[in-house]
């Protein structure tokens, strides 16, 4: 069973066996509106937690994606190159952004649980 964590910047990371899948939340995708372009990091690159690693462009504006955990990019969702709207349609599923090796699992404690995240966005709407 994978654990899912959330950031205050509306990214999620699903961690299973030291590997994480990262995406943006349904709330974020809703707030951004129609997504028209996704710029993803290159496979093999490493980033510290909180570093901007990707950019999602909606019709309205460009938004940076901050990686929820320190680690190495293992795979990117290259289907988003042609079909960025998948992030709107299925942000928690096929609209994932990248997979990473989680190098500092203790960092995950600084992230939010689903319940805490729902409280955060509940307070906003």
């Amino acid at each position: 069973m994978a654990d899912i964590f959330y950031t205050k910047d509306h990214e999620w990371i699903k961690v299973d066996n030291g590997e994480g899948v990262v995406g943006i939340t349904a709330y974020a995708s809703e707030q951004l509106g129609d997504i028209v372009f996704v710029e993803l990091p290159q496979k093999g690159m490493s980033f510290d937690q909180g570093k901007d690693v990707a950019v999602i462009e909606s019709v309205k504006a460009a938004s940076e994606i901050y990686t929820p955990a320190t680690g190495e990019i293992l795979e990117i969702n290259s289907s988003l190159e042609e079909r960025p709207e998948v992030v709107n349609n299925d942000p928690l599923g096929s609209g994932w952004l990248y997979k990473m090796r989680v190098l500092k699992p203790e960092e995950l404690k600084s992230l939010m649980s689903e319940e805490d995240y729902n409280k955060l966005i509940g307070a906003k709407s």
Partner: protein, 376 residues
């Protein structure tokens, strides 16, 4: 600090504010007003609906100004580079307020009415006060200048606009593009202008504030008509290559640089007998410093306002003033200025987050206009 200042800025509501909320609009502040950026459908679907059918936009933030007085047209010609002798009564002209340096104070629509002593202006929201000052400074006390904030303004835009509006007000079918009429509707009067800011056929309708919600609801009963917000308005005007004040045109930019020479009356320009006339005539003889062009960056990344433009030798040659994703063409499009000495470049490079994107230079508009042409 800046946040503290922002709290003190008063943001106004249009008369449709409660209606927008009821219709689940996502509201933003724009030009000093709360307005919908989009409704539930989202910007792309609102954009495409406008191109194929018809959409209603709340543009009540814009300034509607009525000027009355003897020989008002003559007086306005001293301020504007237009010739009323070539504008028939009931017709509308696109023009600009220009300062003595030949730069744009605001762009606007001016209506020649059926009353010789009255003209009607529609100006940009953020420029209202500046425009009023400019008018008061340059018109003598014989004229009354009235900002008609008792009226709301909605735009109905798209190829089905005439069909939809004529079901409510049948007489609009015979209207020419860039003309306007006052019409009695129920127990009030509306000013209907056949013009817009999307590149499509359409109308702008001035309605008393207290009647605007019911009128909008009646228009919405047409099966072709939906609501659209500022997001779609921006992508529609960008595809149509239309300038947005404060972005593509400003007090830094001249009408010639912005490709608006078509809107200046040739004879007036030759006589240079309006504010800024000499500066523009001079620019016409000596050439402009920069010119507004269209850009098609390769790939899918939008190149937005502020993106720098380089030539193939990596020299900085210009800057993007509006840019985004074109819902109709499904590609990124931008407009911006290039130094005029380098105008013959076919390919330039746009710097998007440090990547120099090869970009084709094109003429505006990106999408040809679909304005109404009367067939006799």
């Amino acid at each position: 600090m800046s946040e503290l200042l922002n709290e003190n800025i008063y943001v106004e509501k249009t008369s449709l504010f409660d209606f927008h909320n009821k219709m689940n609009a996502k509201m933003v502040s724009f030009g000093g007003y709360y307005l919908p950026i989009n409704y539930a459908g989202g910007i792309i679907s609102e954009h495409k609906h406008t191109r194929s059918k018809a959409s209603i936009f709340d543009v009540s933030h814009m300034g509607q100004i009525e000027i009355n007085g003897p020989f008002v047209m003559e007086a306005m010609e001293k301020i504007l580079p237009i010739s009323f002798s070539k504008v028939l009564p009931g017709k509308i002209k696109y023009t600009q307020f220009i300062n003595s340096e030949g730069r744009i104070i605001d762009d606007l629509m001016i209506h020649r009415t059926n009353n010789e002593n009255s003209v009607w202006l529609v100006v940009n929201a953020a420029c209202k006060e500046k425009d009023m000052r400019h008018l008061k400074k340059n018109l003598n006390k014989n004229f009354t200048i009235n900002l008609r904030d008792d009226l709301s303004l909605i735009a109905l835009q798209g190829p089905k606009s005439e069909l939809a509006l004529s079901r409510v007000i049948p007489c609009i079918s015979s209207m020419e593009f860039m003309s306007s009429i006052w019409v009695n509707y129920k127990n009030y009067k509306v000013l209907i202008s056949r013009c817009g800011y999307t590149g499509e056929d359409g109308f702008e309708i001035s309605i008393p504030n207290k009647n605007v919600t019911s009128f909008t609801e009646i228009l919405l009963k047409n099966p072709e008509v939906k609501l659209a917000g500022l997001g779609a308005r921006d992508s529609l005007r960008l595809e149509a290559g239309l300038c947005l004040y404060g972005h593509d045109i400003s007090q830094e930019i001249t009408p010639l640089e912005a490709g608006l020479k078509w809107s200046l009356d040739k004879e007036r320009l030759n006589n240079a007998d309006f504010i800024g006339g000499y500066a523009i005539k001079d620019e016409l003889i000596n050439g402009s410093k920069r010119n507004l062009l269209g850009f098609l960056p390769k790939g899918r990344a939008p190149a937005r306002e502020g993106t720098l433009i380089y030539d193939s030798q990596d020299n900085l040659i210009g800057e993007v003033t509006s840019g985004g994703f074109s819902p109709s063409l499904s590609i990124p499009i931008s407009m911006g200025y290039i130094n005029s000495s380098l105008l013959d470049q076919k390919e330039v490079f746009l710097d998007v987050r440090g990547k120099k994107i090869p970009t084709e230079v094109v003429r505006l508009p990106f999408l040809s206009h679909n304005y109404f042409k009367k067939v006799n």
